[in-house]
Symmetry: C2
Subunit: 359 residues, 2 copies
C-alpha cells in the first residue's frame, strides 16, 4: 500500500529519502561488497561512516570542543541509572524537576542511587505546564539538576533553558533533540534516545562536558562509564553499527533541510497549524498552557470521548496512523517530529475538520 | 561491485536472502505503509514481529518453559557486569574459566562486584586448549560458574558442556550460539550478542532460568534487572526494533536451512575442510589442540610472517575480505559463521593453495 502518515510517538516516521538510500545500499554499501550491517566496526568502511556521523552531529548542534559525544545502548532509561552513577562524585543528593511521565521515571530510578530533591513539579496541575523557574527550590548540596525538555505523553515542552548557575544541568532531550536550536554550553549532560528525531531505536546519544567525565566509581559497568567509552570512541562494546549508519543518514538529511534553524521554523509552523485547528474547534481541545505546548507531541481530546473509537478507526482508514493517546492519558496524540512532512499535518487537520463537520 | 566473502569476526556476513527481504520491505512492511523501523514497539505490527521472533528462537534452541528469553542492549559486555549484579544473591564469590580474550574481559568486569575464583585457565598455553574438566577447581562458595563457549580471537571452542552439578552454569555463547546443538536445560544463563550468528549488532539475547530471575538487588538498573525486563517482555525501555526484526529474519532463514542440526553439520563440514587445508600445507598453521578448534573462527599464521601483507592484499583483491587476525595475536583469521556459504570457504581454500604454490 501507499506509505501512511505515521503519528507514532517513537519509534516514529523517518524521512523517506533516508529509507530509500538505506534500501538502495542494503546489499552493497558504496562498492564495498557488503551491507553496512555486515561490516566490522573496526574496519575502514564503518570507521568512515561513524566519523562522518559524529562530525555531522557536532556540526548540527554546534557542540563545543570541551564535550565528549558518546553513542551508547540501553536507551534513555539506562541513563536514568547511569547519570547518578557516573556523576554524583561523592555527593548524596540530586535535584530533579518533574514535568511528566518521563521525568517521573527518571526520578524513580535516580532514587536508587541518591536522595532526590524535587526542585519543582507540575504534577498538581496534571502536567499541563512548566513550573516557573523562580519557584524552583534547588537543594544546595545537589550534584546536578535534571529535567526533561519535552514530555511525549503530556505534550509539554520547555520553551527556555533553566538557569541553575554553576550546578551541572542534565537534560533528557530524547523527544526534541535536533528539533530546535539549543546552546549546548549551558548543559553538563544532554542525552537522548534516537527513536524520535534521529533515526530508529537502539542508540542513546550522550553529550557530556569534560569535567563530568572520569568521575565514575569502579562499580559502574565499563560500557556505561563515560570516560572508558570516550576513550574507546564508544566502541568498548560492539556498537549498534547499522543504527549508527541510519542516524548518520538522518543527520545528512537534516543538513540538506538547512540544519536546525530551518527545521525549527518548519516545526513551529507545523505545530502552530495543528494547535490553531484544535483551538478553533468545539470538538477538540488540548489542556496544556500555550507557552509550554510541545511542538513534537500534540495530545488532544474529543468533547465526547464516546467518539474516540470512530475517530481513530476512520483516521487509520484515511492513512493517518498511530493516533491513539498514551494509555495513561487516553484521547489522541499526534507526534509530529522532524520527519513528519507538512502535508501530513495538513491531512490530519483536514480529516479532523471533516470529522467534526459530520459529527 | 559483486558481494564479497566477508570473513569478519563480527559484525559479520548475513544470509543474502535476509538482506534481500529487508531491502524489499524497507519502505513498506507487508502493506502496513511503514518501515519496520518506523513502527511503534507497542503497535500490532511490531508486536507480531516480536512474537514470531521470540517463538522461532525458542523453537530453534528448544528452550524449556522454565526459562525467560530476554532481548536487551549493551552487548555481552554489559552482561559481564549485569550477571554478577543480578545473580550473586548475597554471595560474594563466583567461579570463572579463562580460555581467551573474552573470558579475560568477563573476569575483569566481574571482579568489580565479587571475588573471582579462576576455576581453570589455559593462559599458560597461550589459550590453545580447553583445560580438562577434571582439573577444574570450583570454589565451594561460588554463586555460579561462568565460561565462554567459543573464543573468537584465539579460535578455541568447547566441544562439550562442563558438568558443575547444581551450581548455576553461565555461558557467553556470543560467537557460537545457533551454530551447534545445545541442551539449554544444562544452563542457568546463556547470553549472546547478536552480531555473529543472529543478525546485526545491537541486541543481547539472555536466556535465564526462572530461579535466577528476581534475585537482583534494588541497585541494578531497571533495564538490566532480569525480572523487570521479563515482566515487560523486554520492552521496559524502547527495544532496538529494527534489530529485533532482522534477528527474526535470520531465525526464519535458519529454520529454512533445516534448523540447528542441519546447520551444525554444515559448519562441521566447512570448518573441517579449512583446517584440513591448513594442516596439509607447509605454509599455513593453526596452533589450537584439534579437539578444541573452533568451527566459527579459524586463526592461522604463515610460516613467513613477512608474507602476511601480500597475502591479505591479494585476498582482498580476490573478494575475500576481513581476513586479518586480531591485533593482539596477528596473522590471519577466517570467521565462518552460519551465514558463510561453503562456496566462500572453497574460495578461500583455493586462494590459499594458489598463494602457497606461487610463494
Amino acid at each position: 500500500m501507499a506509505r501512511i502518515y505515521n503519528f507514532s510517538a517513537g519509534p516514529s516516521m523517518l524521512p523517506e529519502p533516508v529509507l530509500r538510500q538505506a534500501q538502495q545500499e542494503m546489499l552493497d554499501w558504496q562498492d564495498s561488497g557488503m551491507s553496512v550491517m555486515e561490516m566490522s566496526h573496526r574496519g575502514k568502511h564503518f570507521m568512515a561512516i561513524a566519523e562522518a556521523m559524529r562530525n555531522d552531529l557536532i556540526e548540527l548542534l554546534a557542540i563545543p570542543s570541551n564535550y565528549k559525544v558518546l553513542f551508547l545502548q540501553g536507551g534513555a532509561s539506562a541513563q536514568f541509572a547511569m547519570i547518578p552513577q557516573n556523576i554524583l562524585n561523592g555527593k548524596t543528593k540530586a535535584s530533579y524537576v518533574n514535568t511528566g511521565a518521563w521525568s517521573t521515571s527518571s526520578i524513580k530510578e535516580a532514587g536508587k542511587y541518591c536522595e532526590v530533591n524535587i526542585a519543582a513539579s507540575s504534577e498538581d496541575s496534571a502536567f499541563t505546564t512548566i513550573p516557573a523557574f523562580d519557584s524552583w527550590a534547588i537543594d544546595a548540596d545537589a550534584a546536578y539538576l535534571h529535567y526533561t525538555s519535552n514530555e511525549t505523553i503530556h505534550g509539554v515542552e520547555f520553551s527556555d533553558v533553566p538557569d541553575v548557575g554553576d550546578l551541572p544541568l542534565v537534560c533528557d532531550m530524547s523527544s526534541n533533540i535536533l528539533s530546535r536550536s539549543v546552546d549546548v554550553s549551558r548543559y553538563g549532560i544532554i542525552y537522548a534516545g534516537t527513536q524520535k528525531n534521529m533515526g530508529p531505536s537502539g542508540v542513546t546519544v550522550v553529550i557530556v562536558r569534560d569535567d563530568l567525565v572520569g568521575l565514575a566509581p569502579r562499580t559502574v559497568p565499563a560500557v556505561f562509564d563515560y570516560q572508558q567509552q570516550a576513550k574507546a570512541d564508544s566502541m568498548l562494546n560492539t556498537p549498534a553499527t547499522y543504527n549508527w549508519y541510519l542516524l548518520g543518514l538522518v543527520l545528512q538529511w537534516l543538513k540538506q533541510q538547512g540544519g536546525i534553524a530551518a527545521i525549527e521554523q518548519h516545526n513551529v509552523h507545523k505545530a502552530g497549524k495543528l494547535y490553531q485547528a484544535i483551538d478553533q474547534s468545539t470538538l477538540y481541545s488540548n489542556p496544556v498552557v500555550k507557552e509550554y505546548r510541545s511542538r513534537m507531541n500534540v495530545p488532544f481530546v474529543l468533547a465526547d470521548a464516546a467518539l474516540d473509537k470512530e475517530f481513530l478507526g476512520l483516521a487509520e482508514k484515511s492513512g493517518l496512523g498511530s493516533l491513539p493517546g498514551h494509555r495513561s492519558v487516553g484521547g489522541m496524540r499526534a507526534s509530529i517530529y522532524n520527519a513528519m512532512p507538512e502535508a501530513g499535518v495538513d491531512a490530519l487537520i483536514d480529516f479532523m475538520a471533516e470529522f467534526e463537520r459530520t459529527h
